[in-house]
Symmetry: C2
Subunit: 338 residues, 2 copies
């Protein structure tokens, strides 16, 4: 390993000055700076990240810890998130590492251990539960972190979308089209975003003076198979829905599959709207007919999320960074008047 000392010996300067030269400080002569830089590249010098971290107290490493899942689609989705985040964070000159815990493991302790043993500057949390113990733990430790989504019970930095509006917008659109029997394939209502969406849907119903059938709102993990089987079940019911709102494009894919296997036409026999996170694997343009619904690209979330986290790590976090991103709505061709 080639160190600053090697360079300093070679060019006949002190370690201090070599460090300052490479660090781009002011009080070093142009010529010596060039000389040092040339020697550094000639020797193939790479600053030792460990030593630098020890001195500065910063490692430049941002971690995300997840418990693996048994569900292939959940994993594929997670992996897409990881890739988006990773790209954004390395664009900021930081390192992103993913730590996969055992399936179903409690990652709270892992967060704490990893932080307290140094070497991690901050964390990204996704899919917060109500009263999420990870958030409580990181707050207690004073560790920098940011959440995608939010836990209303605790005050912390987050990047989120307006999930109330997600539910309200789509339900309102369908109600305007005359639909009354509207099924809602919601995400797991153990998470805050799903509760918000349900509230939004309820608000739209109330606005139109319609009382929704509670049996038509389902709280399920948002995967393709879940979308398919639950849609089939709904269609087999005594009074099948005329429209379906899906929380996700993966769910929507399942809904489309169900209509196809039943020989139904979208949107004539069944209107479909879904919230689109902009996942590449389930792009709304790949649906036939084109899928309508609310849109909020995750990729835009990653850029503000990582930028905010960087600031938090730098220490300018006095008012908590809380961002609610914009939402758009596309009509698509998957919903029509009844």
């Amino acid at each position: 390993m080639v160190t600053l000392k090697d360079i300093s010996r070679e060019v006949g300067l002190s370690v201090t000055q070599v460090s300052r030269a490479l660090g781009g400080h002011a009080d070093v002569n142009r010529d010596t700076r060039d000389k040092v830089q040339r020697m550094a590249t000639r020797l193939g010098y790479r600053p030792n990240a460990i030593a630098r971290s020890l001195k500065t107290g910063r490692s430049g490493i941002i971690a995300m810890i997840v418990a693996g899942s048994r569900d292939p689609q959940a994993n594929a989705h997670l992996f897409e998130i990881v890739m988006g985040l990773s790209a954004e964070i390395s664009a900021l000159g930081l390192q992103f590492v993913l730590h996969v815990g055992q399936t179903g493991a409690d990652t709270t302790q892992l967060h704490a251990d990893l932080y307290r043993s140094g070497g991690i500057d901050g964390f990204v949390l996704i899919g917060p539960a109500p009263d999420d113990p990870r958030i409580a733990c990181l707050l207690r430790l004073g560790a920098p972190f940011i959440v995608h989504g939010r836990d209303p019970a605790q005050s912390h930095a987050f990047v989120d979308i307006d999930n109330f509006a997600v539910g309200e917008t789509m339900a309102d659109h369908l109600l305007h089209l005359g639909h009354r029997d509207i099924a809602f394939l919601n995400g797991p209502e153990s998470e805050f975003f799903a509760l918000e969406r349900r509230r939004g849907v309820a608000a739209a119903f109330a606005k139109h003076g319609v009382t929704p059938d509670p049996a038509l709102t389902l709280s399920i993990p948002m995967t393709e198979p879940n979308g398919r089987t639950n849609t089939l079940r709904l269609l087999d019911a005594a009074r099948p829905p005329t429209a379906i709102i899906a929380g996700n494009t993966m769910l929507a894919r399942g809904v489309y599959q169900a209509t196809e296997s039943r020989g139904l036409n979208v949107p004539r026999d069944l209107s479909i709207l879904a919230h689109d996170d902009g996942l590449e694997l389930f792009a709304s343009e790949s649906f036939d007919p084109p899928l309508g619904g609310t849109v909020a690209h995750l990729t835009t979330a990653w850029v503000t999320l990582s930028a905010d986290l960087k600031q938090i790590i730098a220490g300018q976090d006095d008012p908590f960074h809380t961002r609610v991103l914009d939402l758009t709505f596309t009509k698509g061709l998957s919903a029509c008047a009844i």
Copy 2:
């Protein structure tokens, strides 16, 4: 952050002795050891991983760097690998980090940079290409690493299976059953394992005095959709195969889908064998009828792989650790005599 100095001040000992007490060294009194340990837990001491790494030159971190893929199944598969590896490595008291590069990025430089800037003890490589530049790079740097699979062009530590036997065993079984028109959905023959399997299949054909139809061997990424579409194409050919060998349970899933959509009976109309890596998401027991073929669980690969890598890092790597794991064969109910 609570350090050794804090403990030493509290119990009235030197930092040295506190370190030795916690490290479990011999020359420290029973009583003082206990006293130190109690104080350490009382203060919530966690050794600083950075400082320890700097001194010992070991971080206990093993990294795997992958370029993300656009293919959801490839990602899900990769994620399953990551989870298996991660579990095994943390069981050894080491840390596993996954570094996801940009899709299609050259990870060679990333390996080099990460290693030369310290902080990474060793690497796990998967899916080696012929003359893999990552292997060449790590060999040049003298970095500890181990490969799942192998690159015959370079000498390195690896854990692999006998892929020649994979091809030979399954082809031999089908030939014994009287099949002659045997299709082989092989993995990408840009990788060594696929070439070996093809050689094995060819050897079995030669043993039976049969000359195979080259048009029946396909070199394709091993995913479900690829299995489905290519099987359909094969079945539509002038002389459709009576049996199919799939390189993978994901491919096999696609083959099953194709037979189903054509209304064919397995194994009466089409015999199917596949190599089974023991992936949970595509478990052979979940096939109907039960899938036959060669079996080699990846999970067993991870335990020897991580144990070997640990030894390599410790420095006992004089003879390269090269392991070829056992293979079994299950008949299943997916293949019958013609």
